[in-house]
């Protein structure tokens, strides 16, 4: 189990301040600090944008992340549940032909899906999430359905970010594990959709009026990231980075939540 975090530049041409992202990563090391990784996007507007992936099998060191001119910066710090290997293959993001995924949480039933496991030798639960989504993509499912069909059958904690390479879209979702989110400029909490499966128009529709700001998400609550994304909801950062909103929901089980 681990921590995930990121900063997304929404709207105009704002660049992510390296110090902000490094500080965010350092706060997340409270949830694990045995390796770190992530991806950086610089070429917003390209079709699709090109992810620059970084992985290090060592404690978090923000100076090693290629943050120059970043418009999307995503991170993951690692606290492995079973696997103690220092091999880079165990460091998130995990990767398939079309996907990059980072996961915080612990699955209880991943062994039931061996065909989805992208690395049987490593046998990490996160490998089943990305493998399952890729499996459904290979079967012809659209990306949203591929995510939903995979995560809905997995029992356990999930807080994930997923980069879809063909479209350059980013997806976030969670079950139990938190993803706190907020924005800067103005520094108000993100207005998230209501519980109960109702998909609402995101507060980020203000982008259409020309506003620009940074969206921050994190496994650790802080002064900017204070609102929890809804459980069982898939959120999308559109490929043009102009919109971040909930787009689909999926069934989930949370033994700590009164339903």
């Amino acid at each position: 189990m681990c921590g995930i975090f990121g900063i997304l530049s929404i709207g105009a041409d704002g660049l992510i301040a390296a110090a902000d992202f490094i500080a965010l990563g350092e706060r997340n090391t409270a949830r694990g600090n045995l390796g770190f990784g992530g991806l950086i996007i610089r070429d917003r507007g390209a079709s699709p944008a090109t992810p620059i992936v970084y992985r290090f099998a060592e404690p978090f060191d923000g100076s090693r992340i290629p943050l120059t001119e970043a418009k999307v910066a995503l991170g993951h710090v690692r606290a492995p549940t079973n696997v103690r290997t220092d091999d880079l293959v165990a460091i998130h993001p995990f990767e398939t032909r079309e996907l990059l995924l980072a996961h915080n949480g612990l699955l209880l039933n991943h062994a039931q899906f061996p065909a989805w496991q992208i690395n049987p030798a490593l046998n990490v639960d996160s490998g089943v999430i990305i493998g399952g989504i890729q499996h459904h993509l290979d079967q012809g499912a659209p990306i949203i359905e591929a995510i939903g069909q995979t995560v809905a059958v997995l029992d356990g904690q999930q807080a994930c970010w997923l980069w879809h390479k063909p479209t350059g879209a980013l997806y976030l979702w969670r079950v139990m594990s938190p993803i706190y989110v907020g924005r800067t400029s103005p520094p108000s909490p993100l207005s998230v959709s209501q519980r109960g499966g109702v998909i609402q128009e995101s507060a980020f529709s203000v982008i259409r009026e020309g506003a620009s700001f940074m969206v921050i998400f994190s496994s650790v609550k802080d002064e900017h990231a204070q609102a929890l994304l809804d459980e069982g909801m898939i959120y999308q950062l559109a490929p043009d980075f102009g919109d971040f909103r909930p787009i689909a929901h999926f069934p989930f089980y949370n033994p700590y939540r009164v339903r």
Binding site: G3, L106, L108, G156, Q157, M176, S177, P178, P255, Y256
Partner: protein, 228 residues
Amino acid sequence: MSEQKPDCVAIVSGGFDSVTLLHYLVKTEHKAPAVISFLYGQKHSREIACARENVALLGLTQHQVIDLSGLAAVFASSALVDAAQAIPDVETVMGDPQPPTYVPNRNLIFLGLAAAYAESIGVSDVYYGAQKHDIYSYWDTTALFLERMNAVYALNRKTPIQIVAPFVNHSKADILRVGLAIGVEYAKTWSCYAGGALACGRCPTCAERLAAFAALGLIDPVPYAATT
């Protein structure tokens, strides 16, 4: 109930899981457990009164309450022990591999003492109440942990101890079903970590307990200060 020679040891904190386990051992498995409980400086030490009450209810006569509260400094990094640390809400600990509610090496220490007690009274089985979702936060509740502890105790030359966790694949709701079927009185259990007169309704164990009752369409009889 007449005094019976113990045939196993059960670790009972006085909480939801371990009290259900105790009733299950007596009423379903027809065991005669010697019970062991621990004071370790926990804020919610009132759980021990619940352990005592259930031991008495079941007519058990062997109950060791081991006072480790002098060792509270050993466990002081835990929010369950350290007065300066607030008990976290459930939302903030989810996905945390070792949240503030983790008590350093507590389960291994308790199991070690329970194994010693078992050896002293000449029984082989030590029962404890680990359940399915404990592993989200605690490395010392996993099936792998249990397997390796048992591998160590199998080395004992005269009294190989076996640690048994019958509910390790049960959710809290599953345990509640078991308990209700055998007449466990959940008003006589205490789970909340916060140490108040009323359960907080917000800490991880309160949240899980409330959800278990709700899943069965029931109301938890324990009084709550707040529910979420």
